[in-house]
Amino acid sequence: MLMVKIIAVLLISASVGILYRIPRKLLLYVSFVGMVAWLIMYITMRLGGNGILADFLASVAVGVIAEILARILRKPATIFIIPGFIPLVPGGDAYMTMLYMVEGNYVDGVAKGMQTILTAGAIAFGIFVSSTIFRLIKNYNLESCSTDVRKS
């Protein structure tokens, strides 16, 4: 069953890439990013971590791999980030929220909704963290370059 799910994740990431029209030769890279992210989430959940932590770790991984690939292949990092995090999106929680709310079960609905929002926030914050780190590195490099120029 795990093998089927991994194949499903690979296909999802590649399809998101097709839907958002990324360059065709990068489809393999983005499905790799998606698979790594999903495996990190899956393993964290298996080891007993909660869903929010798992999604956070996975999306930090998406950001880091995407920024590295963007530096190597000289493409915008967005191309690798979007297909990478789509398999992490808490669609199941979102659906359960809607279902509870419609049934008038507001207590469970609000609880599930809160969980959905926190999970989505964890994904966003994971990308935020990794992008910030790479931006700091970039600014640091620019600064050291310009001081070198001034010295010479």
Partner: protein
């Protein structure tokens, strides 16, 4: 050959317009316009980009200044074009390409029909739906139903974009169609759970580009763009949810 101020401005503004229309981050558009105008021989360049428009002021060596503004209305998502314009600006800066070539390539990028036509994007959307259903431990027929529902979503997107639909109408209608598929199939075959169908079907509607760009704009300090894109993402999610909820409420 010297490049006139008008030519510089029109090249850089066209590049910015193409990138904004296809969903690039704000700082990337501003940096690309600055680099391109500088590579053509401008002495100072100021650019300002918001999600609905591009502003550009260029001063040449002789001290003449020209400002243009481009209003952008129809925005789509085409990351291929962004990466092409990015490459173009890199090779222009590295002097591997002259002004005339750059202008020609940029015009063809803005006009060409890149990527995939309706059927491949419907299949891709279907695969996203089916794959998500598999991740939700769906059975074979539920996966198939999710595949079909997600394909229908893409077809609705095609129709709405042909009718020049209002913002969020596509997401709302897509959510409704997916929920309708799920509920209908459940009422025909009661053992087929609607959960996996609906979860899979709404997955292609997730506003991935808006979320990513919102985060990256905020980090880069473009708070105005970041906030409006974040709001776009939130409203898209709300539109999908309302579409699904209305159909589910009809059933209950």
């Amino acid at each position: 050959m010297t490049i006139s101020l008008e030519q510089m401005v029109s090249l850089a503004a066209l590049a910015g317009e193409v990138m904004l229309k296809n969903g690039a981050e704000t700082y990337r558009i501003e940096e690309t316009m600055n680099h391109m105008a500088k590579a053509c021989g401008a002495s100072t360049v100021e650019s300002f980009v918001i999600p609905t428009g591009v502003f550009l002021t260029v001063t040449d060596e002789a001290g003449h200044t020209l400002t243009v503004m481009r209003r952008v209305r129809d925005r789509t998502i085409n990351l291929d074009r962004i990466s092409k314009v990015n490459e173009l600006s890199r090779s222009l800066v590295a002097q591997r390409m002259g002004y005339e070539d750059a202008k020609g390539i940029l015009t063809s990028i803005s006009k060409e029909r890149t990527g995939f036509s309706l059927l491949p994007s419907m299949l891709a959307s279907g695969v996203i739906g089916g794959g998500t259903a598999v991740l939700q431990n769906a059975l074979f027929f539920e996966t198939l139903a999710a595949f079909a529902a997600a394909m229908i979503v893409r077809y609705i997107a095609h129709i709405v974009s042909k009718l020049h639909g209002v913002q969020f109408s596509f997401e709302f209608l897509g959510g409704m169609a997916v929920a309708f598929c799920g509920v209908l199939l459940h009422s025909i075959w009661p053992h087929l759970r609607p959960d996996a169908v609906i979860i899979g079907g709404i997955m292609p509607l997730v506003p991935g580009v808006a979320i990513t760009n919102a985060i990256r704009d905020v980090i880069a300090g473009d708070l105005l763009s970041g906030l409006s894109r974040g709001l776009e993402a939130a409203l898209t999610a709300a539109a999908v949810a309302m579409g699904v909820v209305i159909i589910l409420a009809l059933k209950v």
